[in-house]
């Protein structure tokens, strides 16, 4: 930096250009011959301008934006099926993966063309309010209740309602998404079905406000109980001591629905491309692709037969 007095001999830094002779700033500042010489500088500048302009230009490619959930993205389902859809139709799908609540919010703002989420109640409300149209049920998987294999609350193999009551009475540590996601809403319904208040505010009930993966990382580090969808759980790689303790109860079914964002509300919505995706996912070919997606030899999503 500027070291006045550190070097009495004049320093290793140039005296201001203006000091030695008359002040002719444009030449001193960036002389023309130097600008011509330093081609790399111009090349870098042009590259950057190009990048800045590239985003609107590439709109020539045919694509749609799909707001969806972390479970479908993180499990690898989209990476498996969307290239097949693109090969069939020439339409690329750009996935923005958020919790169900956030995905619906994006769609309501018109920032997505199609929305694929897993909370029937809010999907139907979304449709009723006129934001989504042409809703189809695509597939389902199920929720599992995870916990430390030591299982201090003793819930292994119990029905879900009883398991939640045991956790509640034992005050065993439970990690909740608390982010308005489909999984969070399912969790609230399950507490209610067990005849309990959602234990918000209890010392043992931790609200992460984060995605499924972040929440699982916390549950794994703290050896806590947590509700997760099976797909994310199977694809998750930091399981630690956690294990599936409760599964298979019919109330744990987790259905996914797809909707087109209402083109009458948002005229820019790519309705044609969106309808193509909805039709493809519910077609025999799409259903087969969904059913064929496996992690560790296990099928994660089950398409609905029409």
């Amino acid at each position: 930096m500027v070291g006045a007095g550190t070097d009495p001999a004049g320093g290793d830094r140039a005296v201001p250009a203006a000091a030695g002779h008359g002040f002719v700033w444009p030449r001193e500042w960036w002389p023309r011959e130097r600008w011509a010489r330093e081609r790399w500088a111009r090349a870098a500048l042009i590259l950057c301008l190009h990048l800045l302009a590239a985003a609107p230009l590439e709109a020539g490619e045919r694509f749609l934006t799909l707001a969806s959930t972390t479970s479908t993205e993180n499990s690898g389902l989209f990476a498996h099926i969307l290239p097949l859809f693109e090969a069939d139709t020439g339409i690329a799908v750009r996935v923005v993966a958020r919790g169900t609540g956030q995905a619906l919010r994006l769609a309501r703002n018109g920032d997505a063309d199609v929305v694929l989420v897993h909370d029937r109640e809010s999907e139907l409300a979304f449709q009723r309010e006129g934001w989504g149209v042409e809703r189809r049920e695509v597939m389902y998987n199920d929720f599992v209740l995870l916990g430390p294999s030591a299982d201090a609350a003793g819930i292994r193999g119990k029905p879900i309602a009883q398991a939640l009551r045991l956790i509640f009475n034992a005050g065993a540590r439970f990690v909740s998404r608390a982010d308005e996601s489909g999984t969070h809403k399912a969790e609230i319904r399950l507490w209610r079905a067990a005849g309990l208040q959602t234990p918000v505010g209890s010392e043992w009930y931790l609200e992460t406000g984060s995605g499924m993966g972040a929440t699982l990382n916390i549950a794994s580090a703290m050896n806590a109980y947590a509700l997760a969808d099976r797909a994310t759980w199977l694809a998750f790689q930091n399981k630690g001591q956690l294990d599936i303790l409760v599964q298979g109860d019919p109330v744990l079914i987790n259905p996914y629905g797809i909707m087109l964002v209402n083109p009458q509300r948002h005229p820019h919505v790519k309705a044609e491309e969106g309808r193509a995706l909805i039709a493809w996912l519910t077609s025999a070919r799409g259903r087969k692709a969904i059913a064929q997606f496996k992690v560790a030899g296990q099928q994660l999503f089950h398409p609905y037969e029409p």
Partner: protein, 234 residues
């Protein structure tokens, strides 16, 4: 092998394979952050220098605000840009949300205050040193702006590097306005966040090692550039 070593193995595997997805992510990260830095420099350098050299009412307040903006939370910047660029926002018709351009805008907002505030400091010090000399040559503050910016170029390079560091390391803003879309807006930091959420901590740290390596190479290049172009009066 202990958990802490696996990231390095993961990083080496990634680099060794020259994984095409990784290359795409690295290219986009560099492109977005470098563009943001250049645009921030275009605004921040003259702004900082002007604030250092001109006296006007409310100048101190502006400086305090500018210094505070250096600590802008990326998530807040991301949210602001999202609300502007959303189809329901004032600039929605441009259709820029979830594009690299949106990410550049967010990073530009984030680092322009940093570059301006650090430039202010550099130019203020130079002005204290050479102000009298420049004034005696008939140079007012306006003419001193380019002179002192050019004179302080070696210090200002560090300023730009600080801006670049902030831009390339942040995740909150680009996650919101970019959407972390594969092959479109996925950059180093958002893929690290993604791999962490998948529980693949080794791969996440491996990507982290790649990011840090890149950052070191860029800073080393800048350092060498500075060393070789610095006038030598020995």
């Amino acid at each position: 092998m202990s958990e802490i070593y696996t990231p390095f193995a993961a990083a080496f595997t990634l680099i060794e394979r020259l994984d095409s997805d990784l290359m795409e992510i690295v290219a986009l990260s560099l492109g977005v952050s470098l563009t943001a830095v250049i645009l921030s420099a275009v605004v921040g350098l003259p702004l900082g220098a002007a604030l250092a050299l001109f006296r006007f009412p409310g100048r101190r307040a502006v400086i305090v605000v500018l210094n505070s903006l250096m600590g802008l939370p990326p998530v807040v910047v991301g949210l602001t840009v999202y609300l502007l660029l959303s189809r329901s926002g004032p600039l929605g018709a441009m259709g820029l949300l979830f594009t690299p351009t949106a990410m550049i805008v967010a990073q530009w907002l984030l680092i322009t205050p940093i570059i301006a505030a650090l430039t202010l400091q550099v130019v203020e010090d130079l002005w204290a040193e050479y102000g009298e000399q420049l004034r005696s040559l008939g140079s007012g503050p306006l003419r001193a702006v380019p002179t002192l910016l050019w004179d302080g170029r070696y210090s200002l390079l560090t300023t730009l590097l600080a801006g670049f560091g902030r831009a390339s390391a942040e995740v909150g803003a680009v996650m919101i306005v970019g959407g972390n879309i594969a092959h479109a807006t996925r950059v180093m930091t958002t893929s690290i966040a993604l791999e962490t959420s998948k529980g693949d901590l080794a791969l996440a740290m491996g990507l982290g090692v790649v990011l840090i390596t890149l950052s070191i190479s860029i800073n080393a290049t800048a350092y060498l550039f500075r060393e070789f172009t610095r006038p030598n009066y020995a």
